[in-house]
């Protein structure tokens, strides 16, 4: 009995932990590559810029509304987990407020018409 509980528990634990990584591989890796290197300038590299963006209100919106994120066929909770996983994986050691499901829902309902200009505008503020 105890062994059965252990089995069940370990199954759920692995599932929850592996979830964002699988979503990354299925929905992001195709262009951003396994290591997040991307193909600049067309496909941006995932690095500490993620933490820079997630550190401001406008940047947080951008990361959710950029078409690759907003249009990925996963629900808001899964997208929140995926973005939080990416922040930990590609911008390690940064203190960033994690995304919540409700935050994702709010941003995702607003369409970002010109992602490239928005990206340029956000990074102009950085330099």
């Amino acid at each position: 009995m105890r062994f059965a509980i252990f089995l069940t528990l370990s199954f759920f634990l692995t599932d929850a932990e592996a979830d964002p990584r699988s979503h990354y591989l299925i929905h992001c890796m195709g262009c951003h590559l396994v290591d997040g290197a991307g193909v600049p300038p067309e496909v941006p590299t995932f690095n500490h810029d993620l933490a820079f963006l997630a550190g401001t209100d406008e940047g947080r919106r951008y990361l959710v509304q950029v078409p690759g994120a907003a249009q990925s066929p996963i629900d808001d909770a899964a997208l929140a987990a995926l973005l939080n996983w990416m922040l930990a994986r590609y911008a390690p050691g940064e203190s960033v407020t994690p995304y919540s499901e409700s935050e994702i829902s709010e941003y995702r309902q607003q369409i970002l018409a010109d992602p490239i200009s928005e990206r340029a505008r956000l990074f102009a503020a950085k330099h």
């Binding site: 062994f3 370990s10 692995t14 591989l25 299925i26 195709g30 193909v39 067309e42 496909v43 249009q71």
Partner: protein, 172 residues
């Protein structure tokens, strides 16, 4: 003070030992030990340990369109063009950018994440054309559409053939 404590402890241990010796058979000990041994032996069977280092078991012919990894491919099979199911033929260059799907492996019944990297830089191979479209989405959903020439980020966008690289088990 210490002596009193040790005496009490000694009495308690003795009491427990005698009680258990009266109540439990030797076979009981053996069966408990057996449970522990089997439990320990089963730990590597758990998904946590297994995912780490199990080699992929596969069945089928990588030169056949029916091969499980090709469930969402659209193009010439690199395995018929001098490459393999996961490597480009000599003289062609793998596209870093790719489209990704999932296929069920009949050998273990699990879904795996497959990256369909195109091989580029040479004219079309022309052998083993294979067009299976499981999970393929229309062109207005580019990340999941296989009609696109994925030879981007390479020296030329000439399409030669397609590979199907296994990225891991789909845990989503």
């Amino acid at each position: 003070m210490d002596n009193v404590f040790l005496k009490k402890l000694d009495q308690w241990v003795t009491g427990r030992t005698v009680t258990s010796a009266r109540n439990l058979s030797r076979r009981n000990f053996i069966s408990r030990l057996g449970q522990v041994l089997v439990g320990t032996a089963l730990i590597p069977v758990l998904p946590v340990a297994r995912a780490a280092n199990t080699p992929l078991s596969e069945i089928g012919d990588p030169q056949s369109c029916e091969y499980w990894r090709y469930c969402a491919i659209d193009g010439f099979l690199c395995s018929c063009c001098g490459g393999t199911a996961s490597t480009c033929p000599p003289g062609s260059e793998p596209s870093p950018v790719t489209w990704v799907g999932t296929c069920e492996n009949p050998a273990d019944g699990k879904r795996y994440i497959i990256s369909y990297n195109d091989c580029c830089g040479k004219g079309g191979c022309g052998r083993c054309f294979c067009n299976r479209n499981e999970g393929d989405k229309p062109a207005y959903y580019p990340p999941k559409n296989n009609d696109i020439n994925w030879c981007v980020g390479t020296k030329t966008n000439a399409y030669h053939c397609s590979t199907a690289v296994v990225m891991g088990v789909d845990e989503s």
